[in-house]
Subunit: 338 residues, 2 copies
């Protein structure tokens, strides 16, 4: 079968209509539709249309509060908190990020904690507005509990993504966003759906032995990237997006889950820093130095910077839309109540 | 030859006397002696007595300002800056850290930039006082320019260490501190001195081909840990400890260096966050949740947490002192002017 081609507006409207028809409140449906359309625009399929299945599952199961209104509660002038009241994350992030940006612009550094949400979107999208405002930004969230610490074989940690953004080059900010596991759980699930084997080193099976079978990996444990260093970073994310902000660890989140296959419950931490408060020279001068660093990296054959692939996709999809696997699209259309 | 055994007080006094005799101002000599003794206490030899050679070289060569007085200049209530005026870092860190801790305790989050220093010590020691004050802390500095981005073969990045600390378990905080290169330059230099080969994957030679020869690695390029993810983290550290705070990139630092073999010039960024401003429950409750996470990690055979080795060493050396290689000790004694 040929792939289905949808414009980004069609992706957005399809998600919006499907979520509304399943009983999700308008504000949430709109925020999630924007989030999914942004992921598809960058061909970040693991956080794109595929995620609609989980959003609908958690709407129908009653796990997520369908009409929760996020509540912004600043703790100090530089620590913003948003209580998501167990709603999906995108609306809470849209609620908190402007306050984070304003505080960082005024004081030089600020933090935003999103509490008690269901997070299912890509972190790079959460920090892009801050980088567009000239800020350096970080985001962390505790993913699903399926990762063993380095040297171990039992799930203890989440996939625990780490995202960082720099406010340049202009219009195409340097942003990375990666799971601290060897791969994101979404990637494993896409491989399982596609019937593909995993590269060696990504996972162990339920018996603790290395495996390349995605189904065995999902029953066993994923491994951190980069050995003990990646494992240390995963523990860091677990701590700062969990107990530091008073939210769930990935184990606690798993224990609280109803098994509907949707997003895990937990928190998210974002930090923003304004380069303008540091240094003796102008920010423009320093952004140029960073631009030169990026250019020198790209000059080396074989080097690709983390956001390059996404921005190339963004150029393409703006004009040509996105391709959707027909089997997936059929599954998504079936989410519309009869 | 049998190793030389020194008490930690002897390590401190030896460093202090050697630095003073070479013309370093008393305040700097004392801060560096404390820094080296702390590294040796934790058997962190790559940042211990061995570093005295470089400190003396940069004192004698005039690269470091021997009597620079660090100047604390808060930029906002939560952004502290210390101008090191081209002195060694330890005195500037001791000057800035109390202000960082106070700001984080008052506002929940704060940053400290050390500007224009010669940094040659271990980052875990820089953040330990913050963790002892109940804070979460981070530290970043741009190391010597000798690391190629993932996929490349030419040095562009520093070894760019990343340190993180959590305020528990009590008395033995979870702290990691690692180079974002596969190994720290100090480790490569110790292997060269010991005539040992490098593990595969650490470096390429000047021809761009993989090498296990430490001397070839020092002439070629080290590689990041963990492939493109470690490479992205290395770029992040380069950006936030360099241009973000208005300080040198590792390339700029290399270009400014006089080749005396001592510390590179540059900046350091520290962040501190007070968990007490987040969350609805008590901090004590949340530290217990983290303690349980650490305990569960240790229960898995094969898992070791990053600070365990250092704290075990600290117990040992408090009573028994440290062992020094006789050849290194002879070299160190020869640093005392005749």
């Amino acid at each position: 079968m040929n792939p289905i081609r949808l414009s980004l507006a069609e992706v957005h409207d399809f998600c919006h209509a499907t979520l509304l028809a399943n009983g999700l409140a308008e504000l949430h449906a709109a925020a999630i539709a924007r989030s999914i359309a942004r992921a598809e625009a960058d061909e970040c399929h693991s956080h794109g249309l595929y995620r609609l299945i989980g959003y609908v599952a958690s709407t129908r199961s009653g796990k997520a509060e369908v009409a929760a209104l996020p509540e912004l509660k600043p703790a100090t002038p530089v620590v913003m908190r948003v209580d998501a009241h167990r709603g999906f994350a995108p609306l809470s992030i849209e609620t908190g990020v402007p306050a984070l940006i304003a505080a960082a612009k005024t004081y030089g550094i600020a933090a935003l904690a999103i509490h008690d949400c269901y997070h299912y979107s890509a972190l790079w999208a959460d920090i892009e507005p801050a980088t567009e405002s000239g800020l350096v930004a970080f985001a962390f969230t505790v993913g699903q509990c399926c990762v063993a610490p380095a040297g171990g074989t039992q799930p203890l940690l989440g996939t625990n993504p780490f995202a960082f953004g720099w406010p340049g080059p202009k219009g195409r900010p340097f942003i990375f966003d990666f799971a601290t596991s060897a791969a994101a759980r979404g990637e494993i699930e896409l491989k399982r759906r596609a019937g593909e084997a995993l590269p060696p080193g990504w996972a162990v099976g339920p018996d603790g032995a290395p495996t390349t079978d995605p189904a065995a990996a999902l029953k066993g444990a994923l491994l951190p990237f980069g050995g003990h260093k990646g494992s240390a970073l995963s523990i860091m994310v677990e701590l700062i997006a969990g107990p530091m902000i008073g939210d769930l660890t990935s184990r606690q989140s798993l224990a609280a889950d109803n098994g509907d296959g949707g997003a895990p419950r937990g928190g998210e931490l974002m930090l923003a820093i304004d380069p303008a408060v540091f240094g003796r020279d102008s920010v423009g001068e320093r952004l140029s130095i960073a631009d030169e660093l990026f250019a020198l990296a790209r000059q080396q054959p074989g080097v690709r910077l983390p956001s390059d692939r996404r921005y190339a996709a963004r150029e393409r999809t703006r004009e040509h839309g996105v391709e959707i696997d027909p089997a997936l699209f059929a599954e998504l259309k079936a989410l519309m109540p009869g």
